[in-house]
Amino acid sequence: MINKNIASIPEAIADIHDGATVMVGGFGETGSPIELIHALIDQGAKDLTVINNNTGSGHVGLAALIENRRVAKMICSYPRSANSTVFPDLFSKGEIELELVPQGTLAERIRAGGAGVPAFFTATSVGTPLADGKEERHFEGRDYVMERWLKADFALIKCKAADRYGNLVYNKTARNFAPIMATAAATTIVQTEKFVDLGDLDPEAVATPGLFVDRIIEVPNPQLESVLVKEGKHYP
């Protein structure tokens, strides 16, 4: 019998190793798998390369992972946002690496990684400092730069409901990067608000088909990053 449901969060993330590349879902707090991130802090893996649109806020979730010095490099499009001080402080001291990627290029590189496409050309960033050092080509009257795929050892994502095959549905704009990250990671680990029976998810509505998912853990009432930040919480 196929059953991707894992009994405990520590078990689900136990094999994330030092030096791993980890995609973390979420656009700001929306879609951020905060319980999985906190478990990763407890687990202790370090020298991670983390791929996320942002760098977290306050001292919880992704910001806490960075603050606890587990992240060697961030690949993201927008590393500063409201209540975001941890990454900017470390970056200005030269203690963490940043690869800045336009948001759509970031998404497309992840999709390419999931689709087995090692490189592609895009008009985004042509003529800007973010195109420096990249191969340029001219197609049908326009300049394009070459971008490489992004793949990861692990993806940590959040969804609304999952079944034991790993089929996933999301909630509103919390979907953001999760479906493409699930395709681009060797091992995709999902926290779901609800674990449902096979057949309960409408096949027409499934946003991530189960073959992209490896492990599922039910977290019925996930914490909200903004609430923890407002309360001044630090993790751990």
């Binding site: 940043l98 948001q103 998404a107």
Partner: protein, 219 residues
């Protein structure tokens, strides 16, 4: 020259002027700040669909406390609503809409615009600033029409329209039209064409505050 508290169009009047150029049925992406005001000025009977790049087509107004859902936000990470007929999608699909040329109009703010349509709006290039770009470079490279809405000069009175941008570019030759508190200006092959003046503003007044050639095309 006499000094006034208020010269030309207000922010709301600028937004209303942009709204006049958005046709019925347009798919539109609005940047953060003044561009967000445009929504309030689209006339009744004109149906516009708003795209927000974090994954929603059919963005509605801010939620009431009852409607608020932290998992329903816009690209500025503020809570929004979804109109009847809205659709959610993942980031690669959202940027397919942008990069694939399916968004009709994108309205953005600017730090600098060059006479050839180059736009700088993401970085001042300072060593100490943490660089952050978001979706700006994708929007300017992909949307069918890029409109800029901005104050004509910086807070310090330095012209934002110039021969060549000195800040790092967001995109090369991307801006089609510029709306400021003083005028509406088109970017054409031969440079900037002033097509409309705010009430009480003269062509020479705008020209004096523009750091490149400006062609009077108001006639």
């Amino acid at each position: 020259m006499s000094t006034q508290d208020f010269i030309g169009w207000s922010r709301d009047q600028m937004a209303a002027r942009v709204a006049k150029d958005i046709p019925n049925g347009a798919y539109v992406n609005l940047g953060i700040g003044i561009p967000e005001l445009i929504v309030q000025h689209v006339p009744d009977g004109t149906e516009v669909i708003y795209h927000t790049e974090n994954g929603l087509l059919g963005m509605g107004p801010s939620p009431t406390p009852d409607e608020l859902d932290p998992e329903l936000i816009n690209a500025g990470k503020k809570p929004v609503t979804a109109i009847p007929g809205a659709a959610y999608f993942h980031h690669a699909d959202s940027f397919t809409m942008i990069r694939g040329g399916h968004i009709d109009i994108c309205v953005l703010g600017a730090m600098q615009v060059a006479e050839n349509g180059d736009l700088a709006n993401w970085s001042t290039g300072g060593d100490k600033a943490i660089p952050a770009v978001g979706g700006a470079m994708d929007l300017v490279a992909g949307a069918k029409k890029i409109y800029v809405i901005t104050q004509h000069c910086t807070k310090h009175g330095v012209p934002k329209l110039m021969k060549e941008c000195t800040f790092p570019l967001t995109g090369r030759k991307v801006v089609k039209r510029i709306y400021t508190e003083l005028a509406v200006i088109d970017v054409a092959e031969d440079g900037l064409h002033l097509i409309e003046l705010a009430p009480g503003i003269s062509f020479d007044y705008v020209k004096d505050r523009t750091d490149c050639a400006l062609i009077d095309n108001t006639a």
